[in-house]
């Protein structure tokens, strides 16, 4: 049951998840992160690391988020691995507040 990054990551991109991943399964574009489901070992370390609850295990995903399963597969394959933490986007704090975290 893979783990999936969803839209809460957009405008935030905190990247707290990246260094806690034991197998470097995160990939990134300038907007957000994605998980490569073939590399992810389902340890769930990243779920509590995300300040805006953007990461779900598929089994716990709300129905309206399911399109993100395919997006993670597709984007992770097209993008490079991100293995070190980076600065969040300039919009991150504002967006975090808006999301209620």
């Amino acid at each position: 049951m893979a783990h999936i990054v969803t839209d809460n990551c957009k405008l935030c991109r905190f990247t707290e998840c990246v260094e806690i991943c034991p197998v470097e399964c995160f990939h990134a574009d300038s907007e957000q992160l994605y998980i490569d489901p073939d590399v992810c070992v389902d340890c769930s370390a990243c779920i509590p690391a995300c300040p805006v609850n953007a990461i779900y295990e598929v089994i716990d995903m709300p129905d309206d988020k399911t399109p993100w399963i395919a997006i993670n597969v597709e984007r992770s394959r097209a993008l490079p691995v991100i293995s070190e933490k980076q600065d969040p986007l300039p919009t991150a704090e504002e967006h975090r507040a808006k999301l209620g975290f």
Binding site: E19, I20, V41, D42, C43, S44, A45, C46, I47, P48
Partner: protein, 459 residues
């Protein structure tokens, strides 16, 4: 390796003690840094990977895939592994410091915590550490005996290790046969008469430390019924506040799972797992061996997120023949190094070993020995990145002396009769284990005695 100014200088030598996740992630961070660095990793066992080999449960093979990452690190040309070499027995800190510019201690936390109650050492009372080490083939626990002819077991503690212990006790043995659980454990578990397993939390269901997934799994074991005591699932106001916090999703999921257990039909199932809350053991009793556990009922006190269990006068007894305490691991002090007994770690500030607030030159720590026995495999990656960032910042000031690194260490070891295990030696042991496993439809059959492991090297 980048072409920085000092690329013509002799390389830096860093020794890492311990080959668990934190040791390997420290090696990774070093080898990826801009330093020209050589890493010597020593490990007291002939086998690498720490608790990924000897802790992670045999029926969770996917989590062991982080080994693929460690294997890749180990193949780096500037990495050397020396197994069967123990700090304190075969080499000293002084030896490592005399041969390396810096030392990173990544020895984990292999000792157990005690309940400190009467009867704790009665026959039939064990630690989760022993049981886990035994079924996972850690040589230190090879000859432990667990009387599985008992019908009732009590597991104290509600963390993920307790979940592993309960699952291995409850699962039909046929579902373990194709895992890398050791043969001696399979044989013993096949004879198990355990019918009922109580799993005790000193606090309430909202404070249980299981991750949601591990808890759910306990509700879906073949022929096993999971139940909670509904009365004990009534939440106090502070726990309700805890559950309302938006980031506390794990506890919310756990509570849903517990409520589902409460509604399950309790009449089915060969085995029963009973979750109990707000109970603290106050004594183990029995003639010669454990026959019962005496518990005090607790009340939660304090504000949300720092509620503590306060025992009341109310008590309860459970008759049982086995008790496993799974209340956490702790590190042991290393000779000559400052130890913080209150948190059970090597004294450190962000990975720099300190005496008081004074950093000890060239000494670093990471993983469970640095922050205590908490966090999962990945937590150690972030932790080691922090330690190595600080080591990187310090190292140019440490010394300009040339150090012999691994060669210096090897000459020190030459004087003793210790049989060193290189990474290619380990690969021989690894292949032999895999081959033994194939015949039985298992991913591997581990060697569980050090002699057996070393014998593979003479073939």
């Amino acid at each position: 390796m980048s072409n920085q100014d000092n690329s013509h200088d002799p390389p830096y030598h860093v020794a890492i003690v311990g080959s668990g996740p934190s040791g390997f992630y420290a090696a990774e961070a070093l080898l990826r840094s801009d330093l020209d660095v050589r890493v010597s990793m020593i490990e007291r066992l002939p086998t690498p990977y720490g608790l990924v080999r000897s802790g992670v449960a045999p029926d969770h093979p996917k989590l062991k895939q982080s080994i693929l990452v460690y294997d890749k690190i180990a193949r780096h040309e500037n990495f050397n592994f020396l197994g069967n070499v123990e700090l304190g027995r075969d080499v000293s800190i002084a030896d490592l410091q005399a041969t390396h510019h810096a030392v990173v201690l990544a020895c984990g936390a292999h000792a157990d915590r005690r309940m400190d109650i009467p009867g704790e050492d009665l026959e039939g009372s064990h630690t989760a550490t022993e049981f886990v080490g035994w079924y996972n083939g850690h040589p230190d626990y090879r000859d432990k005996k667990f009387d599985l002819s008992q019908e009732v077991a009590v597991v104290v503690g509600q963390g993920n290790v307790a979940a592993d212990v309960v699952r291995i006790l409850a699962k039909p043995v046929d579902e373990l046969r194709h895992t890398d659980i050791t043969e001696h454990a399979l044989e013993a578990l096949a004879q198990s008469k355990i019918r009922e397993i109580h799993i005790l939390g000193r606090r309430g269901p909202a404070q249980a430390k299981f991750t949601a997934k591990e808890l759910r799994e306990l509700g879906s074991i073949t022929n096993t019924n999971a139940s909670v005591n509904a009365q004990e699932c009534v939440l106090n106001d502070q726990s309700k506040i805890e559950l309302e916090a938006k980031t506390n999703t794990n506890a919310v999921k756990n509570l849903e799972t517990f409520r589902g257990f409460a509604e399950q039909d309790t009449s089915v199932g060969r085995r029963e797992i009973k979750f109990r809350f707000c109970l603290s053991p106050i004594a183990l009793k029995g003639q010669e061996r454990v026959q019962e556990i005496l518990l005090a009922r607790n009340r939660l006190e304090g504000p949300a997120f720092s509620q503590v269990a306060q025992s009341t006068d109310e008590t309860e007894t459970i008759s049982c023949g086995l008790v496993f305490r799974s209340i956490g691991y702790r590190s042991v002090p290393l000779p000559g190094l400052p130890f913080d007994f209150s948190s059970g770690v090597l004294s450190n500030i962000e990975g720099r070993v300190v005496d008081g607030d004074q950093p000890l030159r060239g000494l670093y720590v990471t993983g469970w020995l640095k922050r205590g026995a908490n966090g999962i495999i990945g937590t150690n990656r972030a932790d080691s990145i922090e330690t190595i960032k600080n080591l990187r910042a310090d190292i140019c000031d440490l010394t300009i002396e040339t150090m012999p690194g691994i060669h210096g260490l090897l000459s020190i070891l030459k004087e003793s009769d210790v049989k060193k295990v290189t990474f290619s030696d380990w690969q021989k042991i690894d292949s032999a284990e895999i081959e033994r496993g194939t015949a039985k439809g298992k991913p591997r059959e581990k060697f569980t005695r050090i002699d057996e492991m070393l014998d593979q090297l003479d073939r």
